[in-house]
């Protein structure tokens, strides 16, 4: 079952509902504010980079949208519905270090996890599911590593396995936390290509991104963030030296943080 991405679902609508609409989102960790009253409407499709200095609340933003950390206030809606009701449309690729790399799972096992929601509770994996897991691995150039234990793969290959797992979810909206951090050139090339294919099939890809120099090459939209929204829009319009300085320069949050 490898249906094309359901791109007609939104583009045929009369009034386009944003794939992701965030209103007034505030995230706090034990009294410290990680993200302050963040409001943003995502573009309908494309590749969006979220950039900002360390501790700017980039990961917190993704995690709050996904419900992995509690929201102090605000809402996040996916195609006009709460996230909890739209999980089928959403895929998440976490930062690398967050799992047990010794876990008894092969690359194919991990990719198959992307199909679990589709398979449903209590039901085992079918042969067809295993076959499609291998297809997604092939899409990230790892078909010959399908039976390798995930800890035995290189960092970049591990990152591609997690990307393949997200692809298996056949989502409309992809959230990735620093997918390019510390990966090799091959992986970078594969990921860039996969992102473009996703965009061309009508999906929206939102990635936290560290490397300012490659924003223009890879992404077409940008969100500049430093605990609050500094600027957002198409890269050409929003990714200006002025906005970058406002994001990374004198901490704007000094007056809002207290």
């Amino acid at each position: 079952m490898l249906a094309p991405l359901p791109s007609d679902r939104v583009s045929s609508g009369v009034m386009p509902i944003p794939p992701l609409a965030i209103r007034d989102l505030t995230v706090q960790y034990g009294g410290r504010t990680a993200l302050q009253r963040f409001t943003w409407n995502a573009p309908e499709r494309g590749l969006v980079a979220i950039v900002g200095p360390n501790g700017a609340g980039k990961s917190s933003l993704l995690k709050a949208v996904l419900g992995l950390v509690p929201k102090a206030s605000g809402t996040a809606e996916i195609f006009g519905q709460p996230v909890s009701e739209q999980r089928d449309l959403l895929a998440y690729v976490p930062q690398r270090a967050s799992v047990d790399w010794d876990f008894p799972a092969t690359a194919a096992d991990v990719v198959a996890m992307g199909l679990y929601r589709n398979i449903g509770w209590l039901k085992p994996l079918r042969t067809s599911d295993r076959a499609s897991a291998r297809k997604y691995l092939d899409m990230v150039g790892l078909s010959e590593f399908a039976d390798r234990q995930i800890g035995a793969l290189s960092g970049g290959q591990q990152q591609r396995v997690f990307l393949a797992r997200a692809l298996a979810q056949q989502a409309k909206l992809f959230l990735l936390d620093e997918p390019f951090a510390g990966v090799d050139a091959v992986t970078e090339g594969v990921m860039t290509k996969v992102f473009r294919d996703l965009r061309d099939s009508g999906a929206l890809v939102i990635a936290v991104h560290h490397d300012l120099s490659s924003v223009k090459d890879i992404f077409d939209h940008v969100v500049l963030l430093n605990r609050e929204l500094i600027a957002s829009g198409p890269v050409a319009a929003a990714f200006t030296p002025d906005n970058i300085a406002r994001t990374y320069g004198v901490p704007l949050s000094l007056n809002s943080g207290q």
């Binding site: 996904l66 419900g67 992995l68 909890s84 999980r87 959403l90 895929a91 998440y92 976490p94 967050s98 799992v99 047990d100 010794d102 876990f103 008894p104 799972a105 092969t106 096992d109 991990v110 996890m113 992307g114 679990y116 929601r117 398979i119 509770w121 209590l122 085992p124 994996l125 234990q149 800890g151 797992r165 979810q169």
Partner: protein, 304 residues
């Protein structure tokens, strides 16, 4: 043959079934870094079992289960209170509660006069699978005689029931258990609650602990929850294979352990016999040692 059926078979079955049920759920304790949970569980349910026995005056399965679950629940609440409300460091909260509960159980055993009648601190600590006997057995025919089978020791039924429940849940929810153990954050994003599956793992461990405790003792319980899964962990990178291998090692520990403890000394004409539960646990530990030394999947040495 008759004496084997009357004495050795029921004891061997008791030890082996307990080993199987504990090893099965133990896989997920080991993978989620909760190996000491089995130990804590084995300790906290003791006062519950004793109180339930004193109140109800019987060792019927449901009485033991109710008492043990009440004690486990009470302990969990106490730990949560110490951690969240009082602010005690988590491992200190767990450690102080499980030692206090076990101490309470020991005192209740001594004070209520239950000791030396139905169970005994030694049986809880050491295990006492030798008391599982099948006096109705008279030759191989008894294995097919429903009347004789009905008089099998009650803990066998209890253990078989527990094994069936744990196995059924693990088979049905295998992929959910796998994804939650591997990547709880991801599980949450696809709508599988790590908290719910985590609670299920703890509940199954509690069930395994309760049914094993009174028949095989706390030490065999801990050994079986950890050693066979850890052994299997050294041999494979596939979760399903790991679970099946752990069952194989549990089975082998049960059978060989009992044979070494009881049958071997008899065969050589010695009067001595080793405690069967302890020997089964030692055999399981030796399997693990061998796998750690020679297994193909020892893993990359971690530098400190």
């Amino acid at each position: 043959m008759t004496s084997f059926l009357q004495i050795d078979l029921p004891a061997m079955l008791t030890g082996t079934l307990a080993a199987l049920v504990c090893a099965l759920i133990g896989n997920f304790l080991v993978l989620t870094r909760q190996s000491m949970l089995g130990d804590a569980m084995g300790h906290v349910v003791l006062p519950g079992i004793v109180i339930a026995f004193v109140l109800a005056g019987t060792t019927a399965t449901w009485v033991m289960l109710a008492g043990a679950f009440a004690a486990a629940l009470f302990s969990a609440m106490l730990v949560e209170f110490l951690r969240r409300i009082a602010g005690v460091e988590p491992s200190a909260a767990l450690g102080s509660v499980f030692t206090a509960m076990f101490a309470l159980g020991v005192l209740l055993l001594e004070q209520s006069g239950v000791a030396r009648t139905s169970f005994d601190v030694h049986h809880i600590l050491f295990g006492n699978i030798e008391t599982a006997i099948w006096p109705a057995a008279a030759g191989l025919r008894s294995l097919f005689d429903t009347a004789a089978l009905a008089s099998l020791p009650p803990q066998l039924g209890r253990l078989a029931f527990g094994l069936a429940v744990v196995a059924l849940v693990i088979v049905l929810l295998f992929k959910e258990l796998r994804v939650v153990s591997f990547d709880p954050d991801f599980a949450r994003t696809i709508g599988i609650s790590p908290r719910m599956i985590g609670a299920l793992i703890v509940a199954l461990a509690a069930l395994a602990a309760v049914i094993s405790l009174s028949s095989v003792g706390v030490i065999l319980l801990v050994a079986m929850m950890v050693c066979p899964p850890a052994t299997a962990r050294m041999l494979t990178d596939d979760l399903k294979t790991q679970v099946l291998l752990s069952l194989l090692f549990a089975l082998a520990s049960g059978v060989f352990g009992y044979a070494i403890a009881v049958l071997l000394p008899l065969a050589f004409g010695y009067e001595i016999s080793f405690g069967a539960a302890g020997t089964i646990a030692v055999v399981a530990g030796l399997f693990q040692l061998a796998a750690m030394l020679f297994g193909p999947k020892r893993g990359i040495p971690r530098t400190v």
